[in-house]
């Protein structure tokens, strides 16, 4: 386990280095924006990684909440599978907004049961909670990067640091929700903090579609700076972009794994201490809790 981890970490570092090199040197310079556009190879993969991690946090939290009850567990399992099936079938039959591919929706939808069943199978009670914690922590870091690099790019290109556009604003709200999640974990005095945190994570996930739609509608009523624009994308750019997405995902995976191991170790140490206290002969133990 230890060796695998370090080998994978090394490989990820190499991959990340090459991806950065590709983004800064190999990718062609964008015509209108110039070199500023290269921050995109950093910004967008970070966003993708953050969303992925928050998604994992949500799935792990649901799993943690339902696990004690057999009925709830079965219900959640079938709900996840149903979501997957609907997402695979429905997009091909109902009209979607322009620019959204049915196959993309289907792939995203399949991720729900896939992630759910994997986490359900391979993680213990404690494991799901530790996974939720570490993915939220790392997710907040990546989300922060997104929120910092976004304005850095927007200032030279749009002439403004920030606009209250749908994507920006919902990312900010998502960040706020997860910061409050981490604060809850930090400030909790309960012995059942994981349950409270999981409940908050579920509430946050329920909130996100509403956040998105409310901001979307709010903004369509008001004038907007023109964002993006047409034009074809150089396939080399796409390749570098995909490479960076992959590299960032690996990078996040390694960090979450590392964080997961540290947290697991910390809890194991605590438990061992408690158990050792049990084995000590009566009367000679130190009054640790006094």
């Amino acid at each position: 386990m230890n060796r695998t981890f370090f080998i994978l970490a090394g490989l990820t570092a190499l991959l990340l280095a090459y991806a950065t090199y590709a983004a800064l040197v190999l990718a062609p310079t964008e015509q209108t924006m110039g070199d500023v556009q290269r921050i995109f190879y950093y910004h967008a993969p970070s966003a993708w990684t953050a969303f992925l991690l928050f998604f994992i946090n949500f799935i792990a939290s649901v799993q943690y909440l339902v696990r004690p009850s057999e009925t709830a567990d079965r219900f959640a399992k079938w709900a996840a599978i149903t979501i997957g099936v609907i997402a695979c079938v429905a997009p091909f039959f109902i009209p979607l907004p322009a620019g959204i591919e049915p196959s993309a929706v289907a792939t995203t939808g399949l991720a729900v049961p896939a992630a759910y069943l994997l986490i359900r199978k391979y993680f213990s009670d404690q494991g799901t909670d530790i996974l939720a914690l570490s993915s939220a922590e790392v997710g907040v870091v990546f989300c922060t990067i997104v929120l910092i690099t976004g304005p850095l790019w927007a200032r030279p290109v749009w002439g403004i640091w920030w606009t209250w556009d749908v994507r920006l604003t919902s990312t900010l709200v998502l960040w706020l929700i997860y910061v409050s999640y981490l604060m809850l974990r930090r400030f909790s005095t309960s012995g059942e903090t994981p349950k409270l945190a999981a409940a908050l994570a579920v509430f946050g996930a329920l909130d996100m579609p509403l956040v998105y739609f409310s901001i979307w509608f709010f903004r369509t009523q008001h004038p907007q700076p023109v964002i993006g624009g047409g034009g074809s994308i150089d396939p080399r750019m796409l390749r570098v972009f995909a490479l960076n997405c992959f590299a960032f995902t690996c990078y996040a995976g390694i960090i979450v794994w590392f964080r997961y191991r540290i947290e697991r170790m910390r809890r194991d140490v605590e438990e061992t201490e408690a158990l050792e206290a049990l084995l000590e002969p009566r009367g000679t133990k130190s009054g640790g809790s006094r």
């Binding site: 012995g191 903090t193 201490e273 408690a274 206290a277 009566r282 809790s289 006094r290």
Partner: protein, 228 residues
């Protein structure tokens, strides 16, 4: 564990490997014990020994981090209608009178009988017609009112946290008498207390706790003190 005279009878409470963490603080570090019906158990120990956490776990208030508690064949939450819990704070609304408090808590147990509340108030030597809010009661009166609240649902297992604190000697003895009477009705009673002498000769067993564990169980108070 001390041998128990009624070991042949099935215990009504059994605790196995009970561990309770609050964050990084381990309040209980592996408690295993069995308790039998119709007895008074006194739980003794220094502050922070885990007495209150053990009682709260038995009451179903604190969920075990590890381990199991079986009371009357179920988990504490499942049999909560059979448990009576008196905490160190009074668990009473200060702005309401004693009767109003009992009436409200009675509803939570499905008890709508006014007479039951009045009887209880008399049993703890208070007056049901008292309209003063509980906030204006003396400490001893509050403590007795709090006991009445815990007895509301006629529980089979009674869990009392520091029932004698701030109560004068005479009221304390009266409470012990009441507990003895309740024991003859077959109730199992746990008393967490610092005033162990009040229960000397009354309690069937003394449970000594330290650092989140049960250190020893003795039949008499003196036995436990010499062991220390």
């Amino acid at each position: 564990m001390a041998a128990n005279s009624s070991a042949q009878i099935a215990p009504i409470i059994s605790i196995a490997g009970l561990i309770k963490h609050f964050g990084r603080f381990a309040a209980l570090r592996g408690v295993a014990a069995e308790f039998f019906a119709g007895k008074i158990y006194a739980i003794l120990g220094d502050n922070g020994a885990g007495k209150t956490t053990l009682l709260r776990s038995l009451a179903g208030l604190a969920q075990p981090t590890r381990g199991t508690i079986k009371i009357l064949g179920g988990t504490p939450r499942q049999v909560c209608a059979e448990l009576g819990y008196m905490a160190h704070p009074t668990l009473l609304y200060e702005e309401m009178s004693g009767m109003e408090n009992l009436r409200y808590f009675g509803k939570l147990y499905g008890i709508t009988d006014e007479k039951r509340c009045e009887e209880l108030i008399r049993a703890v030597k208070l007056e049901p017609t008292l309209t003063r809010p509980v906030g204006q009661y003396s400490q001893g009166m509050r403590q007795r009112m709090s006991l009445a609240r815990a007895l509301l649902n006629n529980p089979k297992v009674l869990l009392l946290d520091e029932p004698f604190s701030n109560v004068d000697m005479r009221s304390g003895r009266e409470m012990v008498e009441l507990l003895t009477r309740l024991r003859t009705e077959g109730k199992t009673i746990f008393v967490v207390t610092h005033q162990a002498s009040l229960l000397d000769g009354t309690a069937d067993e003394f449970i000594w706790m330290d650092s989140g564990q049960i250190v020893t169980r003795t039949r008499t108070l003196a036995e436990g003190i010499t062991n220390e």
